[in-house]
Point group: C3
Chain length 270, copies 3
C-alpha cells in the first residue's frame, strides 16, 4: 500500500448517529495514516439498489489502490457473507447482497473472496449488529496498512450478482426504462444509459414519462426553462430534470416509473 492509503466509505448509516465516527475511529486505531473520504452515508436505509448504483457512478474517479468500504447491510449478523472484491485498480469490502453488482458488471477483472479470517477483525468484540465497526473497518485498515493481503482474508469464490437491477427493454425504435432514484436537486436518474443506443438514435429521439412528452434531449440544465426536459447526466445516465426546480415535485414523479425513448425519424432505430 502507499504511504497514505485512501479508504472511501459508502453506507446507509446516516450522519446523526455515532456509527460513521466509530467506524473511522476503528480504522484510525489500526492505521493512523489512512486518509478517510466519504462518498455518502445517506443511502436510504437498506436500499441496496440505490447503494449499488451510486457506488458504480463514483468509484472510477478515485485514485488507484483506493479501498472502498461499502455497508448497506440489512442482513448484518445473519449468515450472509462479507466480500473482498479486487478489481484491476481497486479493493471493495461489502456484504454479499448485491451492493457490488453494478461495479462488478462494469469491471473486466473481478476476484472475489469471502472474508472469514477473524485474525483481522476487531479483537474480542464481534457484535451481531455492527459489522461496520467489528469487521469492515479493521479489515480495511489491515489492507491499508499492508498487514493483510486479500489472499489472507479468505478463499476465492465466484462473484454472484444478487440484485435484479431493472433492465432496459429495447424494441426496434424504442427504449423502455425506469426511474431508479432522485438526486438532491429532484432530478430523476433512470437506468437508461447512453450506451444503450447509437448516437444517431439519441439525436432524434423523444422522451416520455407519465404521459408527458419531454421532447428531444437537452445538453445542459440551462438549455431550457419552465418545463421538464431530459438529458444525459454526468454518469451518462438519462435524467429527467426541471431547470431551477425539482422534476420530482413539479411533474411529479416516483421511483420505478416507466420512461420511454422513441425514435421520431424512421431511420434512427436504436
Amino acid at each position: 500500500m502507499t504511504k497514505n492509503p485512501l479508504i472511501v466509505f459508502l453506507t446507509d448509516f446516516g450522519l446523526q448517529d455515532p456509527y460513521v465516527g466509530i467506524m473511522k475511529g476503528a480504522v484510525l486505531s489500526i492505521d493512523r495514516k489512512a486518509v478517510l473520504i466519504d462518498i455518502t452515508h445517506a443511502i436510504e436505509p437498506h436500499n441496496v439498489v440505490q447503494g449499488a448504483v451510486i457506488l458504480s457512478a463514483a468509484y472510477r474517479f478515485f485514485p488507484k489502490g483506493t479501498i472502498f468500504v461499502c455497508v448497506v447491510d440489512p442482513g448484518v449478523g445473519t449468515r450472509r457473507r462479507i466480500l473482498c472484491v479486487r478489481t484491476r485498480d481497486y479493493y471493495f469490502l461489502a456484504p454479499d447482497n448485491g451492493l457490488l453488482d453494478a461495479v462488478c458488471g462494469q469491471e473486466k477483472k473481478v476476484v472475489a473472496r469471502s472474508v472469514v479470517n477473524q485474525k483481522y477483525f476487531l479483537p474480542g468484540l464481534l457484535s451481531a449488529t455492527f459489522h461496520g465497526r467489528d469487521i469492515f473497518a479493521p479489515v480495511a485498515a489491515g489492507l491499508a496498512k499492508g498487514r493483510a493481503r486479500p489472499e489472507d482474508l479468505g478463499p476465492v469464490i465466484a462473484y454472484r450478482p444478487r440484485l435484479k437491477l431493472p433492465v432496459v427493454k429495447k424494441s426496434r425504435n424504442r427504449l423502455k426504462g425506469v426511474i431508479l432514484y432522485f438526486d438532491r436537486f429532484g432530478n430523476a436518474i433512470t437506468n437508461i444509459c447512453r450506451s444503450d443506443a447509437r448516437e444517431k438514435f439519441w439525436a432524434e429521439a423523444e422522451v416520455r414519462v407519465r404521459g408527458h412528452v419531454l421532447g428531444k434531449l437537452r445538453k445542459t440544465y440551462g438549455d431550457w426553462a419552465r418545463t421538464a426536459g431530459a438529458l444525459f447526466g454526468s454518469a451518462d445516465r438519462l435524467e429527467i430534470a426541471y431547470p431551477c426546480g425539482s422534476a420530482r415535485k413539479k411533474i411529479p414523479l416516483k421511483a420505478g416509473e416507466e420512461v420511454t425513448v422513441t425514435a421520431t425519424v424512421e431511420a434512427s432505430g436504436c
Copy 2:
C-alpha cells in the same frame, strides 16, 4: 503529541451552516497537521443528554491521545465553565453542562480543569455566541500542536455531573428503563444496558413497551421479520427494532417512553 494529532468533533451545529467549517479552519490555522474527524454534528439542537450518550458510545474506538471537541452549548456566553477533561487515554473539551457526564461515569481516572487561560483563545475576537471558534478550536489546536498542556489551560476542579440521566429501576424480577433517542433506522435506544442484569436473566426475559409484548431478546436484526423485537445494539444497550423498517414509526414510539424487561422463569431474577 504525535506527528499527526487527531481531533474529533461532536456538536449540534448541523452541516448546513458555516459553523463546523469555521471551527475546522480555526484549528488548521494553528495546526496544519491536525487530522479532523467528525462523530456527528447532528445532535438535536441543545440536547445535551443525546450528545452525552452518543459521545459515550463512540469515544473508546478512537486511538489513544485523541482530542475530543464537544460542543452542545445552550449556555454559550454565560458564566458556564469550559472544561478540559483528561482521562487515561483521551482529552475532552466541552462546556460544563453535563455533556461529559456519561464519559466520566465510564472512566476511572478523570482530571478536570476549568479552561480560563485566554492565551490559548483566538486572539482579539472573543465573541459571546461562538466559543466553538473562539475557544474550543484554538485550545484543541494548542493541545494538538503541543503548544499547550492541560495544566496550562486552568486550575484543576472536581468534575460534577450536571445531568439527571434517567436511571434503570430494578426490582427482583424486573428492569424498568426508558427510550433515550432513536437512531437513523428508527431503532429505539434505551438506557438499559447488558450490565444491568445477569446473563441468565437476559436469556429468559421478555421485553414490553406501550402494551406490546416483544418477547425474548433477538441476536441480530435479521433474526425475525414483520414485527417489533428487542436486542442489544452495538454499544450493549437494549434497542427496540423493526427489521427492514422503523420501530419508531411502526409501533409507534416516543423518546422517554417506558420499557420493561421481566423474567419469565421464576429462577431468573435480575
Copy 3:
C-alpha cells in the same frame, strides 16, 4: 504550494448523492496530498445568495493559501464563465454568477481570471452537467500541486458583481434590513452588520420585526428566556434568536422579512 495544500468546499450538492465524493476523488487522483475540508454542501439548491453570504462568513478563518472550491451553479454547461479569484491570502474557484460577490466586497486586492485553459481540466470527459468534477476539482488540484499557477488558467478580467444583495437602508435614526436566511437553530440572520452604525447607536437601539418589539440588543443566547430577542452573531450580523428554541418557528419568520432598528434616545442616531 505547501506540502499539504488545503482545499475547502462549499456547494449545493448535498451529501446524499455521489457528487461530493466524486469531486474529492477527482482531486485526490491528481494530488494525493491535498487535505480536503467542507464548509457545507447544504446550500439550498441554486441559492447563490445564501452561498455567497455563508462563504463570506467562513473563509477568513482558514489558513493562508487555502484554495476554495465554490459550486452553486444553476448555469452549469451554459456560457457562464468560471472564475479563479486571487485575494491577498486565498484562491477561489467559482462560477461567475455572484457567488464570490460578498467575498470580493470584503477584500482589497482581487485579481480575477477566466478559467479557460483546458489543459487543466479532467482529460477526455468534459460533461455539460458536472463541472465540479470536470473543471473545478482538477483545476483546484492543479493549483494545489503547483502544476498550475493562476496565470496559467486564463486571462485577467475585471470582477463584476452579479447579485443584487439586499442593501441596508439608513435614515437618521433608523436602519432597515431584511432576513437573509435561517441557521440550523432557527436563528434569523439579517443583512444588518455591526459596522452599519456607531457603537453608541447599538447601545440604545430597539429591534422590531413583524410588529414584535424585541427591545434592546442582547449579548448572548443565554441572556434572556422565553421570548424572541436580537443580538450580533459570530460574524457580526444582527440575528433574531429565541433561547433554547427556534425564532423561525416561534415568531414565526420568513426569509426576506423586514427588520428595523430604531434609536430610542434622541442623540443616538446611526
